[in-house]
Symmetry: C2
Amino acid sequence: MKNIILIGSGNVATHLGIALYKKGHKITQVYSRNIKNAKKLATKLNSKYSNKLTMLEQNADLVIVSIKDDAIAEVLSNIKCKSIAHTSGSIDLSVFKNQFSNFGVLYPLQTFNKDIELNFTDIPFCIEANTKEFEDELIEIASSLSNNVVKMNSEQRKQLHIAAVFACNFTNHMFSISNNILSKENIDFKILLPLIKKTIAKLDSNKPNDVQTGPAARKDLKVINNHLNLIQQKEIKDLYNAISNNIIKFHE
Amino acid sequence: MKNIILIGSGNVATHLGIALYKKGHKITQVYSRNIKNAKKLATKLNSKYSNKLTMLEQNADLVIVSIKDDAIAEVLSNIKCKSIAHTSGSIDLSVFKNQFSNFGVLYPLQTFNKDIELNFTDIPFCIEANTKEFEDELIEIASSLSNNVVKMNSEQRKQLHIAAVFACNFTNHMFSISNNILSKENIDFKILLPLIKKTIAKLDSNKPNDVQTGPAARKDLKVINNHLNLIQQKEIKDLYNAISNNIIKFHE
């Protein structure tokens, strides 16, 4: 079990902090720019807190930086410690600029909402580090939370993050658009859940491109044009058109 | 239990035919333009088959037309029978042009792949008909297959179909794009499944727009631009851009 300092108080920091704490790690300190947020998370983790990077304790085994990508480089330049890891999918290992003895990445591939509880057991953790020893240490910490820990270099991790944006964020936005369309007709979005669940269930034993269905996959231009005529909002019409064209091209 | 003629031998016709047959309805005849396909499905349903609409038997309780939307109007003009229903999400009830005593719609809201078995129990069936009596009859047939039967007019059904295209077809295409991105990095698509399943699980108790995450939802333009630089294919870059912009606008 490790003594860990947590930099950040957003969705990832909150879930990761709680999970580490529950597994017996000690969160010694929580840092957030916003002292109220630092305090709020620290209370859950039974830890100290601060909004000054210069006040970080020096005795932690590991500093985990779990903040907005934009802010990582600057925050790092103000941290002094021996071992440090960030949790970002998009930020290269080179961001640490060799200013630490041990540096690495501990990227949990999951979607985090502050108020929705999360079980880390199946969540893939992607690990990268500057040395074999520190890599092993990060693997050990990740394995205390999850059964699904993989090594991955920065380039792979960045592409995985993009893939995850398509598979999760963009997918959820497709649901939001559906929900808006249905609201206007007083139809409950829940009517789509069996269809959505079947769409996902297929992925257990099929590649998505092998199970594509719908008007675009069968080049049913009449249905596509009917739909375009029936969609009222211009941006949604444009998206329908762009995605349909991409499906048609993809399946030619 | 009904005597049913099935027009069509595609994905929907196949699954619906098998489900009706298993529930004890008698499929008296299968029609397909392509006699081989008609025979193949008829064999599974223990029924006769034909590729001539003029050869349809006259003693069926119901003719179910389950073919490509483009072909429905023309096929209908060549059918003589008392009671008929189509299974399309997009085609208006008016397609029947009052040339039948009883006409209606029996639209199963699901994604059909010929080779993937389907349990209809939870599948929503959307029912519309020209008379209350025939509506009741279609509800009865649908209820023999599913616990989720709803009445819905043509306008609602069309919008539902569009919503389903976004929630199912477009979602699956997002997975295909992810899969392509990952293949290039030798990463198995399965690494995304826990994330995808979590994204879906949230919908049981949340509206999708309330649980949107990702760089666009938090307006993280640095990550978005990094991703755009890392995406090699122009069409995929354009889609990433279009969907991200729509998310940003949606959550402003």
